[in-house]
Symmetry: C2
Subunit: 440 residues, 2 copies
Amino acid sequence: MSEQCKFLLDDRQIPTVWTNILPFLPEPMAPPLHPQTGAPLGPQDLAPIFPMELIEQEFSPKAEIDIPGEILDIYRLWRATPLYRARRLEKALDTPAHIYYKYEGTSPAGSHKPNTAVAQAYYNKRAGVRRLATETGAGQWGSALSLACKLFGLESTVYMVRVSYDQKPYRRMMMHAWGAEVFASPSPQTNAGRAVLAAAPDSPGSLGIAISEAVEDAATHGDTNYSLGSVLNHVLLHQTVIGQETRLQMRMAGEEPDVVIGCFGGGSNFGGLALPYLQDRLAGKGPRIVAVEPAACPSLTQGSFRYDYGDTAKLTPLVKMYTLGHDFVPPGIHAGGLRYHGASPLLSHLADMGHIEARAYPQTPVFDAALQFAATEGILAAPEAAHAIRAAIDEAVSAREAGLSSTIVFCLSGHGHFDLSAYEQYRAGELLDQSYKATA
Amino acid sequence: MSEQCKFLLDDRQIPTVWTNILPFLPEPMAPPLHPQTGAPLGPQDLAPIFPMELIEQEFSPKAEIDIPGEILDIYRLWRATPLYRARRLEKALDTPAHIYYKYEGTSPAGSHKPNTAVAQAYYNKRAGVRRLATETGAGQWGSALSLACKLFGLESTVYMVRVSYDQKPYRRMMMHAWGAEVFASPSPQTNAGRAVLAAAPDSPGSLGIAISEAVEDAATHGDTNYSLGSVLNHVLLHQTVIGQETRLQMRMAGEEPDVVIGCFGGGSNFGGLALPYLQDRLAGKGPRIVAVEPAACPSLTQGSFRYDYGDTAKLTPLVKMYTLGHDFVPPGIHAGGLRYHGASPLLSHLADMGHIEARAYPQTPVFDAALQFAATEGILAAPEAAHAIRAAIDEAVSAREAGLSSTIVFCLSGHGHFDLSAYEQYRAGELLDQSYKATA
């Protein structure tokens, strides 16, 4: 019998706090600015769309924040998620490297997104909110929020990027099954959507546009708040359960990572895994940290670190981040969850300090890696997560070529059950890698 | 913080044997008969389509059969599967009953089917077979066998029942991603398929027809064997890992079941969970055992216990089982995995002895239960598995009405990620319950 390939935690080992890197930053982040006045933002400026407890978390000076029991009750439905050692993939690659992956696809919505969706629904429920409005790219976030709202008795409205709405009907049906109302974005429901449709009736949409719609919906309805699935500090905070669990599980495996890898859209699964290790780096002892983005939307590798809007219609605050420009509309690649023009300001700040390496891949090598993974480890990964697989394989091959061992950990952020048409296109040789065209 | 809701086993607790009920039967099963001669079948009669090690298992007198290490290596990719206590569902039902479910949807193919697919691929590989041919209803079995063949380097050909082929394109794509060749059945690939198409060009297909096609494919190609996903003794044997794990996990929970429930098509997930408990019943001390089938294909509740063919074209042996007749074509319900005219001969034998209660539900109450489960436990169940949810809820409501506690365990055999169009139809009120029309 072979050696252990799976590291599980019991319910008592699920983290009971979220860990906050903010108080450990050697230099504070640049403050968000008011979209109209350009003045630094106060908590009250965010109150029309967020509950106060989440606003406090956004700027919290505490090193740890307790996870409320009602959130833990729901986390326990699927957490702790398993950490796997990819022994079959290692063997296929004939590499001395040890490859581990943290699999977040076991949640009911199929990704890491419920980690923050559940927390956000909880705090909004406590604040007396009746409905949450949000955007979704590939549909992972929208389905996570639909699930969380259903579990807490809230209503949910999801603006789903048009290209994904068309590509992934099952994601839409999944949101419906959990009671959500879903619109293709740009939609005729909002001023922001109508403006885009007037200028470009065939717009494939973008996360930037869908965010404008959801923010407008929340800002114009008194009983409705807005909910964001990535980018913001409180979102990444909630995701730190991933990295905390991984740390425990790597100790069970008796190893420490040399390199930690995550795919990167807004930064939430990446940050969830990496932030505890980034905190180590700030203390002078962490592993290499690698962010993997699509060549079609390369905010970290080709964007610039500057103040920009989080959305297309300039309704959100100005935040300092790596950005391709708030009016950048990426081509309709299958990794819809990575089609965001910007990057988490917190992770941008850490990248600017030199703590994060970034790389970008076109779609073809990413799907090639996904199929190799499916043929060895069995799991069909989401196209987003497959970016991390590609980088992990490349790291393992480099280790083989250098004749050195290396301990690699990556986040397999979700399954690809709703992305099979992309696999089918790849197999048929129909997946064209669109070149990067910056508009800003 | 609430009480425990999840019971996990570590890799060392995965069963290392399959448990075989055959030597414990008080009366032996009626022997299978040759389809042409009507004489009792010998092992050599099965050799053209099955490897000898599986044929031996089919008739084995041993109480336990060791699971080879190479199979365990793959089981460990997702086993042991979790056992959950459905505390949130219990609360919603306001029931004193304790409801547990064994969740087999965490396998890469999304159901319990890989438990036997991996074993069958292994023994066929050892026997020097190059390709496996099989049928699939909803696609769960076909995708499981595609995965297993990919992991062992075998080719696979899947005849997929036409109605599911059309309803579930993603299941087909999933099989493709694992390298399978997939045909809609009835297909023009085989004599059996061509005969059905000639008589009924618009045939929705059935498992009986698809089995004929796969058996013919295997019988007419020297390098190809046939693989069946349910019904046979060796298939149910491999599935006993479900019940063995459940037994351990129920001990962790400190409870013994009063009633054990599984949905019933050919009988494989049902048997996997129930056989260890049926063995207890043979020793005079087991729980109630409830099989749940669709009203559209009620082999146990409305069929008769007699010799019949396993397929439409009469290529398989005659076996004594509960059957609706080998030419029965059930209506195209969404629980495609339960559309089989017969029932496992072993489980039929045990049902005939009075050890299994059977009940049948139409689709509407089944989807109603599935949505209640999704709203409380989060998981979107396969329509097949939702039959078990329906029965578990009914048992829990009965317990409440009787003012008695009851410990209920059911098998949640798979997720419904590829069945969301069925949920969408149900929500839209478009799910019509077709009445049962026997043709035999």
